[in-house]
């Protein structure tokens, strides 16, 4: 039946790793990811997880080592954040290009510069187009559940997954989390089976070699097809998860979107905050909806269109500094809308950067501004920095 515990987001992902019976872990500590990998190391030390921990000398080597362990046919885990993820960048493409079912915990932290220890999505967004599945959790419970979903999906489609949790607002926040029983997880997540590529003297092959223009496009095409197939696969796996564990998960979660004057679209920990604010406003008679995007890659275009097509306006909150254009989430929503021929105004708000709290007041400001723009039928070509201090202007 499992039990309810009080654990942080970092600890939640570590519990997911333990329950997934990972074989090899390689990681390099970086704030705010550190307690996540410390916890995994602790599980191994206590004998609660039969795995090997490689305390590598850099993030680059962390992802490299798990790529190596993955092609040997073991279930693997690594984790990083911010500049550490940026250092991994080259290997991020290697992991997905080789179709390896690696799961990586991301404790979202802003990229330098300026240096920041704290949350925004600029780190994982910089990796968004390299063919990994990206899941963004909104709570410690989701951090755990997404980790289990990640292994299951990764191993079905042979693609790596980033499970992203906002630095401090999830990594270091303690919450009540329902911890599943090992026996149930074992039913949900079968023992690891090696994929099509492996290093085995009994069946030798060469992996990851040079390719030319004669084959490159086809390999990337199949990679892309596999990634896009997750949009169809996810609901099936989530349904099975719900039947076994009683918790519902979706590519994106909509509340009160039908006919809403404004729908607030979010990624990560601010999703719950937005739901709470919108819920209060609905109770006061205002028509405000929310859409939490959990799966950012592949981007569930159709689901997003279906949820948002009857809204009167959409306010997309990007906790990321995509400088020079729209935030990444807004780009996706606008792109999906255009493809579907929707003419719903989409306003992009950038906020919560470098650890600035995306507070309930900020969410209210986003909604207020979106209503105002809609009322005045105004366009906003570039994002509105919703929580920037006046002195910066």
């Amino acid at each position: 039946m499992g039990k309810r515990v009080a654990i942080s987001g970092n600890h939640s992902i570590a519990e997911g790793v333990r329950l997934a019976k990972v074989d090899v872990v390689a990681a390099y500590p970086i704030t705010p990811q550190t307690p996540m990998v410390e916890k995994v190391a602790d599980f191994i030390n206590q004998g609660r997880l039969d795995a090997k921990y490689i305390a590598v000398e850099s993030e680059h080597s962390a992802l490299t080592a798990v790529v190596g362990a993955s092609v040997m046919g073991t279930r693997v885990f690594t984790a990083s954040a911010g500049a550490g993820l940026a250092l991994m960048h080259e290997i991020v493409g290697v992991a997905s290009g080789n179709r390896l079912p690696i799961v990586m915990g991301i404790a979202n932290r802003s990229l330098p510069s300026p240096w920041s220890l704290q949350a925004d999505h600029s780190d994982s967004m910089a990796e968004r187009d390299l063919g990994w599945i990206q899941l963004y959790a909104a709570s410690c419970q989701e951090a755990l559940d997404y980790t289990l979903l990640a292994y299951r999906i990764a191993e079905e489609v042979r693609l790596p997954v980033m499970v992203c949790i906002d630095g401090f607002f999830l990594t270091h926040t303690t919450e009540a989390v329902d911890l599943p029983d090992q026996a149930d997880v074992d039913q949900f997540l079968p023992a690891f089976e090696r994929g099509d590529i492996y290093l085995d003297p009994d069946d030798p092959m060469t992996i990851n070699q040079l390719n030319s223009e004669a084959t490159f496009t086809e390999l990337k095409y199949r990679h892309n097809e596999a990634l896009n197939s997750v949009v169809d696969l996810f609901p099936h796996v989530a349904k099975e998860f719900e039947e076994r564990f009683g918790r519902k998960h979706s590519l994106c979660t909509a509340v009160g979107c039908e006919g809403a004057d404004v729908v607030v679209v979010t990624l990560g920990s601010s999703s719950g905050t937005a739901r709470k604010v919108a819920g209060q406003m609905r109770a006061d008679g205002q028509k405000i909806g929310t859409l939490q995007v959990s799966c950012f890659r592949p981007f569930p275009k159709q689901e997003v269109i279906d949820h948002l097509k009857h809204a009167k306006a959409v306010a997309v909150v990007d906790r990321s500094w995509a400088l020079g254009t729209d935030g990444p989430l807004a780009q996706e929503v606008k792109s999906a809308f255009y493809s579907a021929g929707l003419n719903v105004p989409v306003y992009n708000f950038v906020g919560g950067l470098g650890g600035r709290d995306l507070s309930e007041a900020t969410v209210k400001r986003v909604i207020g501004k979106a209503l105002e723009l809609k009322e005045q039928e105004e366009q906003a070509l570039y994002p509105i920095w919703i929580d920037v201090k006046e002195e910066a202007k």
Partner: protein
């Protein structure tokens, strides 16, 4: 068609590098079958029987066999165009 997931190669490449050769090593009767040439041949295509036998399908003609032979039993002869 079901494709394998990943980047892999299983076909053993086999370039007939003998075509590159400008000079052909020719083994004479001075060969004692000592095996030194075979030991240092980079593509390892010299077999030692009663004398050294070179696989000209792959020999690039580098001349290492000639250079290491203590008995001067190999001569490099220009290939005809």
């Amino acid at each position: 068609m079901k494709h394998k997931a990943g980047i892999y190669a299983v076909t053993i490449t086999d370039t007939k590098t003998g075509a590159w050769r400008l000079n052909r090593p020719v083994v004479s009767e001075k060969c004692t079958a000592c095996g030194i040439c075979a030991k240092f041949c980079p593509p390892q295509i010299i077999k030692i029987e009663d004398r050294a036998i070179i696989d000209y399908e792959y020999c690039k003609g580098c001349g290492i066999c000639d250079s290491v032979c203590p008995f001067k039993a190999i001569a490099m002869v220009e290939e005809e165009a």
